[in-house]
């Protein structure tokens, strides 16, 4: 029997009881679905996760990808996984039917992704990236490119990637140097280097399709000169064969974690024979790419939450079975030892993990709910959901990523010395989680994105909408006995958030942008904590209502545990914003004053 890595009960609670997934089926776009069908999809995800992905979790880490004769070799089961995800319809699960997808609601898709990523994060990355690349092709590519590349990608036979980062241009994409030289043959000749390209090459597929950003020769500097290209590893020769497209793997990185998937360095056009095809408009490459980036960023948060979930359940299992010590006050050494879950400090560590995992899952599903609204709401309401999604994306990416590291670290702590050893999975979860604050935009970039762009854009409209949404839920929670005190706490935090934001905004004019953004990461941490508190308030409200309605006996423990975990978040986590608020408002720009030369010794 597979160990537990995710709670199906909790996912169903979020989908059905907090976010009312079934209500979506009233809209024509989702009317082909019903709850029975959703449950079948969840069961199918779980089966795939338990039988195919989870058994490879450790093996894919221990047998990491390697480069041999110019080809990256991965675990032999990657081919089977890609095939199953292709034929099973998972690569196009959330795509509209018009794209040959399954048109699943985002909420359900989010739950499926959480299930699969918690079983084996690395394994889910291969089809996930292919899905993202296929989305870009569907949105922006010509019909000819679609016909040439999409069918094999949707079938899981060809891998898709995002090729953005270069050795000298990571967070600063405006500095990228990969160049596309126009020809009169309908394609460009590409030349340049890309690094840290996930699944950039491997032998689990027959071809790799890179969605690459580069600069058309002579295009202006900065982001306005960036265009998006489709660059295959092998290109069709027009006679039914695939031939080399002059894309070389120069290395596969040896990473701390997330070792089941290869991260590669690629060289394009060493022999001046690398053909790329323009996708979308020239000069709008980064804009197009960001269509995929927002989704990818939320996907990173999802991966982080999923890994923390798996670590939590491994730790929980250990704490329930490991006898050590006796209850406080029990002095008789002849009494048997108690499982360590009986100790308050161990329960605190478990509550912390559960609070992070389920709070993050809530925020991710909240984003999915807004994505679903974009598919069903009248056009005039789209701006509202787009703004909310834009605002929440940096938090949905960063909170699970940063807190996931602390949560998986606490999972190790629960296991003590055993947790530090390879015999148990938690050390791998810890290593696997460390990538998340880095890839798809570091936490520092997310902080600046939130404070410098998302909160300020359109005269703070997104920020105002967020407050509206949260206060609507505060009002509803005030009416529920037992949850009202949490609602008051959130209201106080929202008020603080408004004050801090107003004070920071005032700095732009007075002290300049550098000081304004100097502690943007801390602002992100504060806002993220408040956003998760909002999610915990929603979950507590739903759980309290379920308890008041007399739940099934088998659900009693779930709801009681939910209530206490919500209270834990408001008692232990939300108060942590106080230190951040103090720092953000004390007006001392010390990181700006600290000259680089002072770091001399």
């Amino acid at each position: 029997m597979a160990g537990k890595f995710v709670s199906m009960r909790n996912l169903k609670f979020l989908m059905y009881e907090v976010f009312d997934l079934v209500a979506l089926t009233k809209a024509p776009y989702y009317s082909q679905h019903n709850q029975k069908g959703f449950d079948m999809v969840l069961d199918a995800s779980m089966k795939l996760a338990q039988k195919m992905l989870y058994p490879l979790f450790e093996e894919m880490d221990r047998k990491a990808p390697y480069l041999e004769d110019g080809q990256v070799k991965v675990h032999p089961q990657v081919r089977a996984i890609m095939k199953e995800f292709g034929q099973g319809g998972w690569i196009g699960a959330s795509f509209p039917e018009a794209w040959d997808g399954q048109q699943l609601p985002g909420l359900l898709h989010c739950a499926c992704q959480l299930i699969k990523s918690s079983a084996n994060y690395s394994a889910g990355v291969y089809p996930g990236l292919t899905s993202g690349a296929a989305r870009l092709i569907n949105l922006f590519a010509s019909d000819e490119l679609k016909a040439t590349y999409l069918p094999n990608m949707m079938d899981g036979k060809w891998q898709g990637t995002m090729a953005l980062t270069e050795p000298q241009a990571g967070s600063s994409l405006g500095d990228l140097a990969t160049t596309a030289f126009p020809t009169d043959q309908g394609y460009y000749l590409l030349k340049g280097q890309k690094v840290f390209i996930s699944a950039g090459d491997h032998d689990g597929v027959d071809n790799v399709v890179h969605m690459l950003i580069g600069r058309i020769d002579g295009a202006p500097q900065g982001v306005r000169g960036i265009s998006l290209f489709l660059v295959p590893k092998k290109r069709p020769d027009g006679k039914g064969k695939l031939i080399s497209n002059d894309v070389t793997v120069s290395q596969v990185f040896h990473k701390m974690g997330y070792r089941g998937a290869p991260i590669t360095e690629l060289s394009f056009g060493d022999k001046d024979d690398c053909r790329g095809f323009l996708v979308g408009e020239a000069g709008r490459g980064l804009m197009h790419m960001f269509q995929m980036m927002n989704e990818a960023r939320i996907g990173v948060g999802l991966g982080a939450a999923a890994i923390a979930s798996a670590a939590y359940y491994a730790a929980l299992d250990y704490c329930q079975t490991r006898p050590q010590g006796r209850k406080m006050g029990a002095k008789d050494m002849n009494t048997p030892q108690v499982p360590i879950i009986e100790h308050a400090d161990v329960r605190r560590m478990l509550l912390f993990q559960r609070a992070v995992v389920e709070g993050s899952e809530g925020l991710l599903m909240q984003c999915s709910r807004y994505e679903d609204m974009l598919n069903i709401a009248p056009k005039e309401e789209h701006a509202r959901y787009e703004l909310l999604l834009d605002l929440l994306t940096p938090m949905a990416k960063s909170y699970p990523s940063e807190m996931g590291i602390l949560a998986t670290s606490q999972a190790i702590q629960c296991l003590g010395g055993y947790g530090y050893c390879e015999d148990f999975p938690v050390e791998q979860h810890f290593r696997d989680s460390r990538i998340h604050p880095i890839h798809e935009g570091t936490t520092g970039i997310q902080g600046m994105d939130l404070l410098g762009r998302k909160v300020m854009m359109k005269d703070g409209q997104a920020f105002i909408l967020f407050l509206e949404e949260a206060r609507k839920d505060v009002a509803a929670a005030r009416a529920v006995a037992g949850v009202a005190p949490l609602a008051e706490q959130l209201e106080a935090a929202l008020k603080t958030l408004e004050e801090v934001t107003a004070q920071l905004a005032g700095l732009i004019g007075k002290k300049g942008v550098e000081i304004f953004l100097a502690d943007a990461t801390l602002y992100l941490e504060m806002f993220g904590t408040i956003a998760i508190a909002w999610q915990w308030l929603l979950q507590a409200t739903a759980a309290r209502k379920a308890l008041d309605n007399g739940p099934k006996p088998a659900d009693m423990n779930f709801y009681q545990g939910k209530m206490i975990t919500a209270r834990y978040f408001f008692a232990y986590e939300l108060p942590k914003i106080k230190g951040l608020v103090q720092r953000l408002t004390d007006g001392d720009p010390l990181t700006v004053e600290m000259e680089s030369s002072y770091f001399s010794d």
Partner: protein, 258 residues
């Protein structure tokens, strides 16, 4: 090739089972139900036969309305239609279940019936064999490989420590054993299609039977949980020699194994 598959919905093997207050049934509350794993092999084998020979795959199940979920899972794997026989309040033993299935199957056209050799909930092993008897067709159990040719089925079956090869004329019933195949996963398009596939429910009366003729010959008198394992015992002693002596004594006198 008309293929019938017999299927039962059972509690998932990872479920924590508790005995109900009546002491002859289990508490259904909080249990997760799935398709009996041996029946998954049966569905898979039926689909493979259909893929190579053409025809249709029909799933039959005896159970409450909830059992339709397991049939839908089979439809999502690719089966064509389902029939749920709901016995209402009647508690069926293996023979009664076989009688219900026989009544449903007799008017149908079929070449092969595939069943799991047992259900993992009650480990009764009887339904498939009893059904073959009632239908008057050959029954081959514990099948790990089958080939169809010239109106006959040739099967490799597990026997203690080895395999045997047997042959029967169609129509026949075969019962699956682990190793027969690797069941496919339900696909998303399969799940979407499954919702629209025909699934009819029949009562005892619909089958022209009455409850009087289906009363169980075997009744469960009590269910008991396995005895919990007792903790181990550490042999104390000042030296290895003393401990070994105490261990040998315990093995000889208490455990009586040496």
């Amino acid at each position: 090739m008309e293929i019938l598959v017999l299927l039962k919905q059972v509690p998932a093997t990872e479920s924590l089972i508790a005995i109900a207050n009546d002491r002859v049934s289990i508490k259904p509350d909080g249990l997760k139900y799935v398709m009996n794993p041996y029946d998954e092999l049966a569905v898979e084998e039926a689909l493979r036969i259909r893929e190579s020979q053409g025809g249709t795959v029909t799933i039959l199940s005896v159970g409450p309305a909830k059992a339709a979920e397991a049939i839908r899972t089979g439809l999502a794997m690719g089966a064509d239609k389902g029939i749920l026989i709901d016995p209402g309040n009647l508690t069926c033993d293996g023979l009664a279940t076989a009688k219900l299935l026989a009544a449903a199957i007799k008017p149908m056209t079929y070449d092969i019936i595939i069943a799991g050799h047992r259900a993992v909930d009650d480990d009764n092993f009887q339904v498939a064999t009893a059904l073959a008897e009632l239908l008057g067709i050959p029954n081959i159990s514990m099948v790990v490989k089958q080939t169809l040719a010239d109106g006959k089925i040739r099967c490799l079956c597990t026997v203690e420590g080895g395999t045997k090869e047997v042959e029967a004329t169609l129509p026949a019933l075969i019962a699956t054993q682990r190793g027969l195949n690797d069941p496919r996963y339900a696909s998303l398009p399969g799940i979407m299609k499954a919702k629209k596939k025909p699934l009819e429910t029949r009562s005892i009366a619909d089958l022209g039977l009455d409850a009087a003729g289906l009363q169980p010959l075997v009744t469960i008198k009590a269910l008991k949980m396995p005895v919990e394992r007792k903790g181990g015992r550490v042999i104390e002693g000042d030296s290895v020699a003393v401990k070994v002596a105490a261990l040998v004594k315990a093995l000889h006198e208490e455990a009586k194994v040496i």
